[in-house]
Symmetry: C2
Subunit: 366 residues, 2 copies
């Protein structure tokens, strides 16, 4: 990555996505917030801030209980293990782009002793008929990150839940980027979206921009057991702060902004339109993200991103996703405060400049 | 716990042990330190602060490599798993007071699939002849926390290492409270102490007073594998700060103070002397801690602690350890900045007041 070029850009769309400044600025902001809220010392996740965050998440998601975890990897590993143990079936049904399949060093296999069962197609969201006849648990990522945040339509989600219920397969929601969902399914609230899922994981550091942490929500017995596993995994941190207070702060600050972030993602995609050299997926965006898939190899894609940065002063992103089973370079654009508060015409121009570079490279090599 | 009484005391020896103020004060101190050191954003433990801390620990402990972990539970579970896997023997030799045996919801059994093999006596440090003939790994806690920080003498430690080497059992050091060891064995430096241990875990939030985190040190291949397991466990936090910068700050600030903390622990124990109603263990203290064991039940012990607080304004500690196999109420006193910077006569007087209350209760019930 061309760090100097990125630093020269006055608009940076890479992670993190909001106006929190450097870590030092953030720590001071959390300190101010803790004083305002009267949050003092607490040890081993036993204090007020954890209780407040867990209660707030249980209520928001419409589940009886919730447990804070330091990471989604830990929360989801525990969820998969518990559901499969309750089902007495070690088969864990996963989409091929699941975080567990791609980004966790196969902890579900080596640490939790589960047997992954691949379901669905890499390039599209899960459907009801992707579910297996039997499995210990099935994971559903909403929105599906490696498809640019694609979602089933509402009827498709209802059908998926019904199919899982009739097959007796507990569903777990990977809700790492859950916060824009009500914009995708207008009129549907969180409890209705989460209904039918035995458990839901949500993350605080991606779309909400807290400094870390996750919550797992579900039935009370399940959450009690999850907290025992949290301790076994080494997740019971001595200091909940700043992560937990920062999550409460980020919820106050940003949950209400998600609809505007989603709207802006759609405006940008509409503004880019159909261009040679790249495509947007999904189009239109369904939440506050999209993938820009470039018709070239990764080296050319990086050169195109850099050329767009030189021409427009917009740094579109730090990396291009590419996998053996999906080698097309994909730049992930997430709309947070930084993208939202910029002139959308600049972002559109940068994406088009990237497309132009790809077309030029194609014609040169042809 | 009588929170109001604790708050009225002007000297509080409970955790945390240093002058860091409330969490909000601490966050601001870490922010200032990060600016001074030029530490900026870093994600998923890939940045400068983690690299600096790992390199510093490897060098200090005399090991080829080191890996940061969010908790000791996670670090030690991974260490036990890796050593037992390399030995192809799931038997993990543990002292009955090991943190794994008492405080981790038996993660070594249920998560890591190991079979604990109890070695040694509850009431004293491990000796060479406690080691089994065969095991996948043996844990040695130095100092041994639930014996008040007791240690073998240097020759005993050398014999223990030699016995493990000849039996082919990899030794792991639980060094949660390692920082006072050179005061216990004058002239012995960290690498010499750690030599013979296949791996060493150290903690940053106890004696050093950082806001959390741990390091596991060992051979390079072992640490590479440990980092893979760190990811599988969900330990790869997105934000290393404030824990990692705070550990660097705490090392700068406090590692040099440990000899004075140890000296003060010994002064206090000598000042208490032999009294009816309680005993100190070990006596003299070997590092910057001791246990005050009361000749009564837990309820009486708590009343004695409260009576001492009323009489002296010194809050001696938040809780009394007591276990089925060691029901004597034990108050753990750790000398950090707060205890060290107080008049030792006050702490001595408070311990004696506690003893007097125990004697009075004994005579009343007799």
């Amino acid at each position: 990555m061309n760090v100097a070029l990125k630093a020269r850009c006055d608009l940076d769309l890479g992670f993190p996505f909001h106006h929190d400044g450097d870590p030092a600025d953030r720590l001071e902001a959390v300190a101010r917030w803790m004083r305002r809220e009267g949050l003092g010392p607490e040890a081993y996740l036993t204090g007020d801030s954890v209780a407040r965050l867990e209660a707030r998440m249980a209520e928001l998601l419409g589940k009886p209980a919730a447990a804070w975890f330091p990471t989604g990897t830990m929360a989801q590993g525990v969820a998969a293990r518990l559901h499969c143990a309750a089902s007495d079936d070690a088969r864990l049904a996963l989409h091929p782009t699941s975080h567990l399949a791609l980004h966790e060093e196969e902890g579900h296999i080596h640490l939790h002793g589960l047997t992954p069962l691949e379901i669905g197609d890499w390039s599209r969201p899960l459907r009801a008929d992707d579910l297996p006849a039997v499995a210990g648990c099935a994971f559903v990522e909403l929105p599906q990150r490696h498809n640019g945040g694609a979602l089933p339509d509402w009827d498709g989600l209802v059908a998926l839940k019904a199919r899982a219920a009739s097959a007796g397969i507990p569903l777990h929601m990977d809700g790492a980027r859950i916060w824009g969902l009500p914009s995708a399914w207008p009129g549907r609230d969180w409890p209705e979206i989460c209904d039918g899922f035995a458990s839901v994981y949500v993350s605080f550091y991606k779309d909400l921009g807290a400094s870390g942490g996750a919550v797992l929500a579900g039935d009370s017995d399940f959450i009690d057991a999850a907290k025992t596993w949290l301790a076994r995994m080494g997740g019971r941190l001595v200091s909940a702060w700043p992560m937990v207070p920062d999550a409460l702060r980020a919820l106050d600050l940003r949950l209400g902004k998600l609809p505007a972030f989603v709207e802006r993602a759609r405006e940008i995609a509409a503004g880019v339109g159909e261009v040679d050299g790249l495509s947007l997926t999904p189009n239109p965006p369904q939440v506050n993200m999209m993938h820009v898939r470039l018709d070239c190899d990764v080296t050319t894609a990086e050169a195109a991103r850099d050329a767009a940065a030189e021409a427009t002063g917009v740094w579109l992103g730090n990396r291009f996703w590419h996998f053996e089973r999906d080698p097309v370079p994909a730049l992930e654009i997430t709309i947070g405060e930084r993208a939202h508060d910029a002139d959308p015409a600049r972002i559109i121009a940068a994406i088009r400049a990237m497309a132009a570079h790809v077309c030029q490279a194609q014609s040169t090599s042809a």
